[in-house]
Amino acid sequence: MIISSLPISIVDLAGSILVAVLSLFCLNITRKLKKQKPGEFIWEYLFWICLTLALFAVFRSAGHILKHILLLSGNELISDSINSFTGAVNSFMLIFIAVVTFFFTRVWKINQHMLKDMKGNNSGSIFPVDTNPHNESSDFSSTISYSFKKDTEQKILMENQMAQADKLASMGQLSAGIAHEMNNPLGIILGYTQLLLRDEDHETERYKDLKTIEKHVKSCKSIVKDLLSFSRSSKQEREAINIHEAIDDVLNFIIQHSDLEKIEIIREYDRDIQPVVLNERKIRQVFMNLIMNAKHAVGKTGTIKVVTGLDKSAKHIYLQVIDTGYGIEKKNLSRIFDPFFTTKPSGEGTGLGLSVSYGIIKNHSGEILVESKRGKGSTFTVVLPVNSRRRETN
């Protein structure tokens, strides 16, 4: 069969040029993708694939164009030897692309397993980690490094938690001892001071001195009381309370007694929450501490958001106090529950608010979580079990 070779030559020449150009464009895009997210496995893969395809396309195209030129000029022998060389290079490139693709698909599969495990681990969590499937592909290598990082972080976090729990338990015992020993003498000092005050003329210097003693003894007693709360040595009576009413009472009290004009307070309550068995007085104290801390962090203008909700299994309720304040520095995060730790100026805070709250929540078999982004605010989350025993006494 004799036939024109022109269509083949045209398709070959035009295709060679177009493919070579397109392959270089593709390479340029993968270079940009790589630059946008350096170190990402998926872009590395695409870059290498496109690099090899570009080399393949350019070699092939150059070979084909050269072949046409050599054939037209009557140099068939040279054309044959070049063909062998480009053929060998093309074979190598094809194998390389195939190997990289196999490797990529294998890693992809491993990634799926890891994501599955991650989701499995998060299924019991109240606040699941974000495993958006979109990230799965676009943050492919991030997911892998995230899993490893998360594992290590969780291990470190757990060790820190145990150390923190140990430290706080020791402090609790120590505080309980000191508080118990100091409570009685303070009571006696206060009693005698008040006895002396009764017989003293209000205008005398002595009366003012005694008043100063009384004020400071009361302040000491307040600290001792807080220490006792922290060390859980005080008796607790529990009853079913409506958590939203308690929060509203605290919020109303703060609004009435503090300057909150420029602070926006947002309430997002889950009305499905049933009354929960809690020590109302203690829980109010926790809310008060958290909201006052949020107010202090926000300053004069900002937002404080109070959110309540039920977790998926409906076994826990959570309360979040979210502020748009200046956040907590990373180095302070592990210390904020330590007794007497405060970032407030001297004289403005005792550093017992969060420690006491911690003690109260632990006593209710709950947890306090803190999430903070420097400059963007903090989120304190109190998690409480729904089925606490009624009238539990410690």
């Binding site: 069969m1 004799i2 036939i3 024109s4 070779s5 022109l6 269509p7 083949i8 030559s9 398709v11 070959d12 035009a14 295709g15 177009l18 493919v19 397109l22 392959s23 593709c26 895009i29 993708l33 946008q36 695409l46 395809l53 396309a57 037209l72 053929g87 060998a88 074979s91 094809l94 692309i97 195939a98 693709t101 196999f102 698909t105 992809w108 599969k109 799926q112 974000d130 958006n132 499937p133 979109h134 990230n135 799965e136 592909s137 676009s138 943050d139 991030s142 490094s145 995230y146 990082k149 820190n160 938690q161 990373k330 995060l333 947890e367 306090i368 979580l369 999430e371 903070s372 982004k373």
Partner: protein, 172 residues
């Protein structure tokens, strides 16, 4: 001592004879020119399988992937078709010499085949224009990558662990 001298003389003589009067060693095998064609054909098969697996993987994650990957699938499909086409051309022409092509003029070729089958000749003639499959593969690859580039702006990525301000959660 004498034995050692004999051994040394024997060793040196053998070495000199080996170097000065060499014979062919036949240490490596010569497979002939066709080996390259077979290797190239195996590379095509390997390439087809790898692209097939890539499509399978992408299809299994179809609902969750950015749309750019859809075009990557089409690209892989066209790479498979092109590879099959190229495989067929090599198979007919170079590997088993079923088709013989002779240039008889600047723009004319003569196609002969072992079975004298015109359909086979037409198939070979069309298959020679493999760029008709190779080019769409690159066009889809280009569009796919372009989409991925558009979709990979920071808004699409929520989880960035490299961010130094990545939320720190302290469970107490």
């Amino acid at each position: 001592m004498e034995n050692r001298i004999y051994i040394l003389v024997f060793f040196l003589t053998s070495l000199s004879w080996t170097i000065l009067c060499p014979n062919p060693a036949f240490a490596t095998c010569d497979y002939g020119r066709i080996e390259g064609v077979h290797t190239h054909q195996l590379a095509h098969i390997f390439f087809i399988i790898s692209m097939g697996i890539l499509i399978y993987r992408l299809r299994s994650k179809k609902p969750q992937l950015p749309s750019g990957w859809k075009f990557m699938q089409y690209s892989a499909l066209f790479f498979i078709l092109w590879s099959l086409d190229a495989f067929a051309v090599h198979f007919l022409n170079e590997q088993f010499n079923i088709i013989q092509v002779k240039t008889i003029g600047p723009w004319q070729i003569k196609i002969n085949d072992c079975f004298n089958n015109n359909l086979l000749k037409v198939f070979y003639y069309l298959a020679r224009m493999d760029y008709l499959l190779f080019m769409p593969a690159f066009i889809f690859l280009y569009y796919g990558l372009k989409r991925l580039l558009n979709e990979s702006h920071p808004g699409f990525s929520k989880l960035d662990v490299s961010d130094p301000d990545f939320s720190e959660k302290d469970r107490v």
